[in-house]
Each structure stands twice: as C-alpha cells, then as structure tokens.
Amino acid sequence: MAVFPSTAAKAHADRRPSSARQREGSSRPKRRSQRSAYLFIAPIALGFLVFYIWPLLQTFWFSFTSFGVFGGSSWVGGENYSRVVSDVTVGQALGNTLLYMGMGLLTLPVAIVLAELMNRKGLRGVPVYRALYFLPFITMPAAVGLVWNWLYNGDFGMVNQALSWIGIDGRYWVSDPSTAVYAIGAVMIWSHVGYYLIIFTAGIKAIPRDYYEAAQIDGAGPVRRFFRITLPLLSPSIFFASVICVINSLQQFDLIFVMMSPENPALGETQSIVTLFFKWAFDENAQGPAAALAFLLMLLIAALTYLQFRFQKRWVHYA
C-alpha cells in the first residue's frame, strides 16, 4: 500500500508532458502491453466463463424450470421457489443452519481469549501451542467426522467413558435428535478454533506493545487491559472473522454428511441447507427446487454479510 502514492504520482507525471513526439514513442509499447494483458487474463477468464459464470446463469435458469424424467425441461415460473418456501424440511434445515452459525460464532470469543493468553509477554512454547491448536483445521473434515463419531459413540466412546468417571450417564450423542446438532457444532468449534487463532494472533501482534505497558503503569490489570486495549484494537480482525465465519457456517456440509449416516434417526434435526440441497439435487433428482434453494441460500449469505458491513461502524475501530 505504501507504494501506491509514489506510483500514482509517477503515472501522472508520465502522462502530463504530452508532446506529440512523446506520445508517438510510447503508444506502440502501450498497445503491446494492452494486448499482452488480455493474453495474461485470457486463460483464467475462459475458466471462469465456463465453470463459474455460465453455471451461475444456468442455475438461475434451472430454478425456474422443471426436469422431466426422460430429460428435457419446462418453464414453471416461481413454482420451485414456492415449494422451497412452503416445504417444512427447508424450514427445519434453515433453523439448523442458523444454529450452526450461532455455534460457529462462539468460536470467535474462544479464539480471542486463546490469542490473548498466548500474547503474554515472555511466555514460552507459544509456537508449539499454536501448531497444536491449528492441527484440527488442516485435517480432512471426512476424517475428523469419523474420529468424532467414534468418540461420541454411545456404547464405547471416550466421551461417555470420561463422563462416567465423574458419574454422569452419557447418551447416544449423534443419534439422539435432541443432542446431535450440538454434537456436530462442538466439532465445528474444535476444528476451526485454530484458524481464528491465527487471524487474531496476527491482529494482536499489530497492537503496539507500548499501549499495554502504559496501561500497566497506570494500574490496569490483565482483564481491564484485555477489554480496554485488545478488544477495541482487535475489532477489525473480529469483524473480518465474523464475516468469514457467517459465510462458512451457513455452508456447512462435509462434517454433517460424514457424521450422519443415512439411517440416523436425527437426520432431520441436523440437516443443513447444503446437505438438503445435495439430497434434492443428486439423490432425489429435484434439480429445479435444489437450484431455487441454492439461490435463496446465496441471498441469505449476501443479506447477512451486508448487515454486518452496515453495522460495523457501530463497533469496529479502525486505527
């Protein structure tokens, strides 16, 4: 960023002496650089066109059509959308998805506290801690799901084993409709805490040490320093993290898909919008409604992101 003003000034200076001779001299390389710029962009532009932009338009078209069993499609207007809006399973999936989002957001305070603890001056072993906390994030979600299913296992899982040591009767965490969604949410938190920890660590490192030292000399304790210095100065990072967190947790798929086998009695209680989409699109051949559902999900994501940007002025302090 620091380079920007000087380059801008230079570009400006280049343009100003516009004598005919100079313009003539610079036009050929300029045209050449224009042409090569398009060549530089062409491969990825082609890829985007074929695999992203065209499919986006097509999904939009799909969402207004119905597919026949023997191929072919016909325009059905808003029928798919009205099916999505009136379908009870969609309502349930939306509720679950918002619940996942809420639990996902709980990861942020945990990560902030961890980042603050690791920021303690002179603390040893911080790189080791950071590496260990980051481990779940890089692990394949499919593998994570299997491991946690084993830990949650009602008869032989370590979670119930540990609970029995302190005299609590465990349950079948992932097949009990009243606990399954929270069991999955806990795994989400477990696997993402390291990611946010890195974001917040970078944010905290950017806060000048002097602030803390000055506050300490003025008699502020660690708790007060956390609330008066760390939190406000970290707010841009927190804002970014919450935007990312909302976008990601509204698109939960892998963990749910792996942890909930098709015959699990808690399937409906854990289904997210994306797992429902997958079921409609590829198991039940209901592409039209699936496309409509995907569009509504995008609108939801866009709306929540917009709201976050809208209200950031109230709490985000940019230094």
Binding site: S33, P55, D210
Partner: protein
C-alpha cells in the same frame, strides 16, 4: 489513552524486572510466575483437547475390533497390530484413491499458480481497457457459494465426457478468484522501477513477468500453493458430485464408502482416516510457516 509523556520516564524502570522475571514487567516475581503457570495450565488443557482425538484415533487403529469395544477401554493396544491398515487397502482401492487425491491436489495447485499469477500480474501492473469491470466480475465470482454452481458444473463435465475421470476432479478448481486477488495484492506492492528498468533493456511483458516479477512474489506463491493443496486434498462435495467409480474418487470420498462398508468397525475406520489425513499433516509439519502465512494473508484483507 494516557498521555505518552507520563509513560516514558517509568518505562526504563520496568525493563530489568522483565529481563529477570522472564514474563510480564512491573509486578512482583512470585505473582508473575503464578500467572504464567495459570496461562500454561489453561493453554495445555486446550491443547490436550485438540490433540486427544488424534491420539485416540491412532491407538484405536492398532487395536483389534473386540479390543476396541472393551469396557472399560484399554488405553494402549495390548498388541500393536497392523490388521486394520491391511484391511483398509483390501476393502476399497485405497492406493488408487490416494493417487487420485494426489493428482487432484497437484492439478488444482499448479493450475492456480499458473492462471492466478498471470491474471494477478495483469490486474496489478498492466494497463488495459475494461480492467476495472473485469476485476469486479472476478471479485463477484469470489462471493458466489460453490453449491450454486455444482449442478451446471456437473452437466458441463458430463458434456465434456469427463465424468469419472481425474481431470473432472481438478478442472473447475484450477481457476480461483481468491488466488488471483491474493497474488494481485503482492504484485501491487512491488516497486515500479524494476519493471521500467527491464522495459528499457528491451524485455517484453511476459519476460518481465516471468523472470523479474514472479520470483519476487515467491512467498505469496508458496502460501497460495499450500492453502490450495490443503483445500484440494480435503475436498469432499465436488468429488462426490462428479466421480462415483471407486477407482476414480479421492481419499475423502473413499472414507465415506469405507464408513458405509464397516459401519462401526472403528479400528478400520480409524486406520483409514489416519492414512487419509497423514499426507496433509506431514506437509503441515514441513511447511508450517507457509500454512500460517497463507491463513494470515487470507485473513488480513478484511
């Protein structure tokens, strides 16, 4: 904020305390160690929660099926046996799946490095008409959730006759708006003098890009490569959509079929998940710095 002037005289006095105590400045030593100890206690408790599932996964993989369901559980396997690992490879084409994952990962990562760096350079350093409009289009691709594209993408792969093939796994993933955006930020920060000197020496745009600018953004390329490799290796939804032939799916989808086959035979499932996640763990241990940098970079543009 307190007046900076009042803090400066006091600051030197705190230094020696910090040096001898090794922890925070300004307070008594005994209390400080206690605080450090409490911090360590909290952080290690969390670290145990992070690591225990992996430990238990590994221990279970070496147990026999009857031993894995013994109550109360044995902590260490009474006999370390590799049966579960062998069964994984005989039950599903696990070796092929690992190869498929590898090709998927390499394909997507190389594709992104080439295509994103070319486009990022043009957006950052070249002047051309329609640049802003094109860049806005690129950014909007970044915002579309992937599920929205999956149905037509599947149809396109089908039309290309590529269902159940390796290219199907990596084709759409080779093009990334995020990668373009990330690298663009780096190219923007490079000094313009380098390019101008090369241009005066008669180097063409591609030459300037390849031999002067690209080497300068190597850290960003490494970070992008590592992050892309991670997402590609772990990806599940897209492979499930395009490939159903067991010999053409990556290891993530292989775990799903393993789960369908063995239900609650956890030694086998754990052995499979150890093998599936091990390559990424090794890469992480070797390239930890780039992982962290990639994450921090993608996190700092908010």
């Amino acid at each position: 904020m307190p007046e900076p002037a009042t803090t400066t005289p006091a600051a030197p006095g705190t230094r020696p305390a910090a040096r001898t105590g090794g922890t925070g400045p300004g307070a008594r030593r005994g209390r400080l160690d206690l605080g450090g100890l409490a911090t360590h206690a909290l952080l290690s408790l969390g670290a145990v929660a992070m690591v225990f599932p992996f430990v238990w996964q590994l221990l279970t993989a070496f147990k026999t099926m009857p031993e894995s369901v013994r109550v109360p559980p044995t902590i260490l396997p009474s006999e370390w046996n590799w049966d579960a690992f062998q069964q994984v490879f005989s039950a599903v084409p696990f070796t092929e799946m690992l190869t498929n994952s590898l090709m998927n990962t390499v394909g997507r990562t190389l594709g992104q490095l080439v295509f994103c760096s070319l486009a990022a350079y043009a957006f950052a350093r070249l002047q051309f008409r329609g640049k802003n409009v094109l860049f806005a289009v690129f950014l909007s691709v970044l915002m579309v959730p992937s599920q929205l594209l999956v149905l037509p993408q599947h149809e396109i792969i089908q039309r290309l006759g590529l269902l159940n093939s390796i290219p199907a796994l990596f084709l759409p993933g080779m093009f990334s708006a995020f990668g373009t955006f990330l690298l663009r930020q780096f190219f923007m920060a490079l000094p313009r003098e380098l390019e101008e000197a090369a241009r005066i020496d008669g180097a063409g745009p591609f030459r300037i890009f390849w031999s002067i600018m690209l080497p300068l953004v190597r850290p960003a390329l490494a970070a992008l490569a590592v992050i892309t490799a991670m997402w590609s290796w772990n990806d599940l939804l897209w492979p499930l959509v395009v490939n159903t032939d067991p010999s053409k799916v990556p290891i993530s989808a292989g775990l799903i079929s393993l789960e369908g086959q063995f239900l609650t035979n956890y030694p086998i499932l754990m052995a499979g998940s150890v093998i599936a996640s091990l390559p990424m763990l090794i890469l992480y241990v070797l390239l930890q710095r780039h992982f962290v940098q990639g994450i921090a970079l993608s996190g700092s543009k908010g």
